[in-house]
């Protein structure tokens, strides 16, 4: 168990290194650099070169990379030249709003997705299964921004029940969180359905039936826990993807989270902020995956005792 945690943490360090290197290359591969963006297209050559030297962009790519890795390993994520403050400070300022949004969306997705999956998987091929399948395909097919705009049209502009954008009250959270949760609901529901339907064909489920239990007792008492194992794995991975999906939703609803910060930073070639956001999200994904693995070990004694 401890070996597993140490192993996963080591892998996590590698993942972080990979993410740091990739984003370092990607931001620099994009045309234009911070100096030209800051000074505008009409600035003269000399001033641009001067600023490039101040920002350290005149050095070779290799030298920049090495000093960047050195800084990151000391948890120094650099200055945002645009905001004039440490990049990570700006990122951490925006983090709570994104966490509120993604956690709420995750909670909605897990509750609704599991319920739908259970209803559908309990009787595969039944009428409920068909309805749920149709709904999940629809949820997965519509793009998030479109769902967001439709929800705003109906609930904010049409029924005037909820605010269309901004922050302040819990009501402000509803529409963005629901929008963000939709594709995630679909993923969880479909996976739960398949997993439950598969588990219900297992030998131990037949044993449970042979004890004279009702289908509901068999489902809750025997099939549920075992069929949750693959679901937990996917939820762990997908919550990370949700943080990415939040970028779009935050822009639709003017939600002041990482999403709007990073879009702004990319547009302005604010390397330090883009790198900081990326590393933070990568770190969150690593931690969430570790938590998912620990939860699975809790659900499955065979993994706990190292039998599988």
């Amino acid at each position: 168990m401890i070996r597993m945690i140490v192993q996963r943490l080591l892998i996590g360090v590698f993942v972080m290194w990979g993410a740091a290197s990739l984003i370092f290359l990607i931001v620099r591969a994009a045309p234009g650099d911070p100096a030209t963006v800051l000074l505008g297209p009409d600035a003269d050559r000399g001033r641009i070169d001067e600023l490039r030297a101040t920002l350290g962009l005149d050095r070779s790519l290799g030298a920049q990379y090495l000093s960047y890795l050195g800084d990151v390993s000391r948890l120094d994520f650099g200055e945002s030249h645009r905001l004039g403050r440490p990049a990570m400070d700006a990122v951490l300022d925006r983090l709570p709003a994104t966490i509120d949004l993604t956690l709420t969306a995750t909670a909605i997705a897990v509750i609704v997705g599991l319920t739908l999956g259970l209803l559908a998987g309990g009787r595969p091929g039944g009428p409920l299964d068909r309805v749920v399948s149709a709904c999940t395909i629809a949820l997965q097919s519509f793009p998030t921004f479109w769902i967001g705009i439709m929800l705003v049209l109906v609930f904010a502009l049409g029924l005037r029940l909820l605010p269309s954008s901004g922050v302040g009250t819990p009501q402000h959270l509803v529409l963005p969180a629901v929008t963000l949760s939709f594709p995630f609901i679909a993923i969880i529901a479909r996976l739960t359905r398949t997993s439950i339907a598969e588990t219900m064909r297992e030998g131990y489920v037949r044993t449970a039936r042979s004890k004279g239990l009702t289908e509901r007792q068999v489902l809750v008492g025997h099939a549920l826990r075992n069929s949750l194992i693959p679901v937990v794995t996917v939820v762990g991975v997908q919550v990370g993807a949700l943080v990415g999906g939040a970028v779009i939703v935050e822009n639709v609803f003017a939600w002041p989270g990482l999403g709007s910060l990073v879009v702004d930073a990319v547009a302005n070639r604010d390397y330090a902020v883009v790198q900081g956001v990326t590393l933070l999200i990568a770190g969150i994904v690593v931690v969430l995956n570790l938590m998912a693995d620990l939860l699975i070990a809790q659900l499955d004694p065979r993994i706990r005792t190292g039998a599988v």
């Binding site: 037949r206 004890k211 008492g221 005792t305 039998a307």
Partner: protein, 343 residues
Amino acid sequence: MIPAGTAREHGLTKPSPATDGPPLRIDGLVVDLPGPRGTRVRVVDGVSFDVPRATTVGLIGESGSGKTMTAQAILGLPPEGATLSGRLLWHGEDLIAADPPRRRAVRGREIAMIFQDPLAALNPTQRIGRQVGEIPRRDRLPRAEVSRRVVELLDRAGVPEPKRRMRAYPHELSGGLRQRAMIAVALAGKPSLLLADEPTTALDVTVQSRILRLLADIQETEGLSMLLVSHDLRVVSHVAERVVVMYAGRVCERGPARDVLRRPAHPYTAALVRSVPAVRTRTALADPLPGAPATPANRPAGCAFHPRCPLARARCRGEVPAVREVAPGRWSACHFAQEVLGP
């Protein structure tokens, strides 16, 4: 939705032992399964036999003979899409006509089943004790009482150190111990009929005979009826007092185990007996059965065994033989049973 108490109440009103006749009488059981392209395959075709009180009946057949399907039909858990007809008389009550709550009430508490592969049949995420104690726990017995019952049941099934083993997960036990735990699970509802579907097939050879002896011992001391389903003639001949031989979904022969195996009244039984290598006598190699077993999906016309039968003649190809009494207590579905039996 059925009120929660109903199943329990059914379970407590066990039929009185004074009822006449065998506890289980199978009368013309037919099981149809969905086949390819909307067809129906008759996997059990008019099977009839009794399981008398406190007796072990061996149900023998090759794969595809319908023996497992018969056991699943008795338990009331046939594969999805199966349709049952005929009668399954449990103390005179037809279980095929019974409603699902009644069926559930019988399952586990009057008729219990031991499955072939204990690793698959036990829940990997629950401790053995929890699985053995499920029926007592659902009966709302106090915890101390449930765990006392679990220890008692594991002990009865020959699990050493039951207090410690009840805390183990299935993967932490050996195959033999797992099957013993499975037997404890089956005994937990105090059934009066035990269905054992190839209970030793998945086990090491050295463990097989011990599990068989345990089953025979439990059957005898608890006065249970047992239906032992097996493809292995030797397994059946060790424990069963009566045997039923099935081929391609039909009964070929039934009668007292010793007589049937010593002097078969059906060519298929005779061929089966010849195919078993005799270990002690070191005689010639066993005679394997010629040809491939018929499957219910393409069952030959007439007697299903005729393409592999040394005695087959025109009548066998055209007429399905009825199961009839060919000697006192001996039933055979061969047109020429007298010839097989000999003088």
